[in-house]
């Protein structure tokens, strides 16, 4: 219906009150189909003739409870390594990224060093680095250096991850508009000041979603340290398995990792969403 021009403007469209029927029907269909599909899959598994054996080996509640204290203590080590590595990677990678983004011929050798570093540590499997550092360096028995496999394994993780994170930072730095750099230089700021006051704050905001993704990945990859004998959750679970020939302890470890990573992943989603909303707002 087209409102007449000489009239007062038409009233705003009436908001319809909450209608149970329109609200409930899609929800019921969704819930019903989920129950149907998952119920069917569950029935397939439960009626399988191998299911009792699988349950006994993987989901044995007695074994799970028995293994939980040690696996749990190991998991605390995982989380400690994660937090420390997180901090070290954040700082070290940022330093590398800033060096790589500095302009001017005097910085050329440093830029080259960073490029070589990234090629090296991104090109070698993290697992190999962990074994090489965690077993190799303590074996040298160099006086003055720490002898702990945990320390050197963690160091390998930091060096490896920093190569990736450095590239994320750098993409964020490159994405800052050239005019920002020009404006900062025109105000008389030197190369460092331009970076610290004008470029980096914007770059970090740009890459926060990607960084969150890396943080979630690191949270579980710290389990790599179990191969060099660090008694983390995975290692403790393996030790339990070796004594009992039951794999339920590994599922305890898996459960613990899920409990930690899923909230982090949701947090990452939330940050990404908020970031996108902010961008749209600025663009509009």
């Amino acid at each position: 219906m087209i409102p007449k021009l000489d009239d007062t403007p038409p009233p705003p469209p009436r908001r319809r009150g909450f209608d149970w029927r329109t609200a409930m029907v899609p929800g019921l269909i969704g819930a019903g189909s989920i129950v149907l599909v998952f119920g069917f899959l569950g029935w397939l598994i439960a009626t399988n003739e191998n299911w009792p054996r699988i349950q006994l080996q993987f989901f044995n509640l007695d074994h799970m409870i028995a293994a939980a204290p040690k696996v749990g203590r190991g998991f605390l080590i995982n989380m400690q390594v994660w937090l420390i590595a997180l901090f070290a990677i954040g700082v070290w990678a940022l330093l590398l990224a800033v060096i790589r983004s500095l302009r001017g011929p005097w910085f050329a050798p440093f830029r080259l060093m960073v490029v070589l570093y990234i090629d090296l540590f991104r090109g070698v499997p993290a697992l190999l680095l962990v074994i090489l550092f965690g077993f190799g360096i303590p074996a040298l028995r160099i006086p003055g250096l720490p002898n702990s496999g945990l320390f050197w394994g963690g160091m390998a993780m930091v060096l490896s991850y920093s190569a990736y994170v450095c590239e994320i930072y750098r993409s964020g730095i490159d994405a800052v508009h050239e005019g920002q750099r020009a404006a900062a230089h025109a105000l008389g700021l030197n190369e460092w000041q331009v970076m610290i006051y004008a470029i980096l704050p914007q770059a970090l905001r740009n890459v926060l979603p990607s960084l969150m993704n890396i943080i979630v990945a690191l949270q579980k990859d710290v389990a790599l340290l179990s191969v060099i004998g660090v008694r983390d959750a995975v290692r403790e679970a393996q030790i339990y398995t070796a004594g009992t020939f039951n794999y339920s302890s590994l599922l305890v470890a898996a459960l613990l990792f899920l409990l930690a990573t899923i909230p982090m992943a949701r947090l990452a989603d939330w940050i990404t969403k908020r970031d996108r909303a902010r961008r749209l707002q600025v663009a509009g």
Binding site: A182, A183, H185, L187, G188, L189, Q193, A198, P201
Partner: protein, 245 residues
């Protein structure tokens, strides 16, 4: 005050500025006009060394701009610039944008820098935006903040690079008023613009650039009513047809 001699700049193989000579006297307002790609912005950016020329010389009060006597930041303190796209720092408040250079480059105490900034903002009727972030302001307001930022070091020369080109037409006026006020105060300005009305209104002299050369320099009334060079005539003709003159 500014002496430019045989200024030449290549971008790769492309000749952007071709042996440009230009003198700007103290308190003078010079407008640079010309088609896109004629080299006006590059010429402007050579003056405060955002672009390094390949040949030629620019002197400020008799001292070459790349002379060590200016030190690291002396030139930037004496020559301010405002850009087409404002280039305010989006993560800083208006006040922080304005006081960044005074605090970090000129080592001024924060209180002093902020009280000076507030004074200048008040002069332009913008003091209520001191705590706002650039994205909360209109284009015209952002551009006025950018002008205050460029003036914070009390420069002798202000360079304006198409400062109204990104603005909605109804916001151009408020920025023009600021520039008019600065001219009245006797500030030396070099202005790149596409707004011929602007040039006619404000300029003491207008330079028409074509292909990296200044092909004609004249008083605005002469240049717009009786251009001598055929390229200038052609350029103004086209603007007239486009209804922009």
């Amino acid at each position: 005050m500014i002496e430019i001699r045989s200024l030449t700049k290549y971008f790769g193989e492309h000749l952007v500025l071709d042996r440009v000579d230009l003198d700007v006297a103290r308190h003078e307002v010079v407008c640079l006009i010309g088609a896109s790609g004629s080299g006006k912005s590059t010429l402007l950016r050579c003056i405060n060394r955002l672009v390094e020329p390949d040949w030629g010389e620019i002197k400020l009060d008799g001292v070459p701009v790349d002379d060590a006597r200016f030190g690291k930041t002396g030139l930037q303190r004496r020559v301010g610039i405002v850009f087409q796209s404002y280039n305010l720092f989006p993560h800083m408040t208006v006040l922080d944008n304005i006081t960044l250079a005074p605090r970090k480059v000129h080592r001024m105490a924060r209180v002093v820098a902020e009280s000076m900034a507030m004074e200048t903002l008040a002069l332009f009727g913008m003091e209520r935006f001191a705590k706002a972030y650039p994205e909360q302001l209109s284009g015209g307001q952002q551009q006025r903040v950018a002008m205050v930022r460029a003036l914070a070091g009390a420069p002798d020369v202000l360079l304006l690079d198409e400062v109204t080109a990104a603005l909605d037409p109804e916001l151009v006026g408020e920025v023009m008023d600021v520039i008019r006020g600065l001219k009245a105060q006797g500030l030396t300005m070099v202005i790149v613009t596409h707004e011929m009305g602007f040039a006619r209104d404000l300029a003491d002299r207008v330079c028409f650039l074509d292909g990296g050369r200044i092909v004609e320099t004249a008083q605005p009334e002469d240049l717009f009513s009786a251009p001598e060079h055929p390229r200038t005539q052609q350029f103004l003709e086209r603007l007239l047809q486009g209804g922009r003159l």
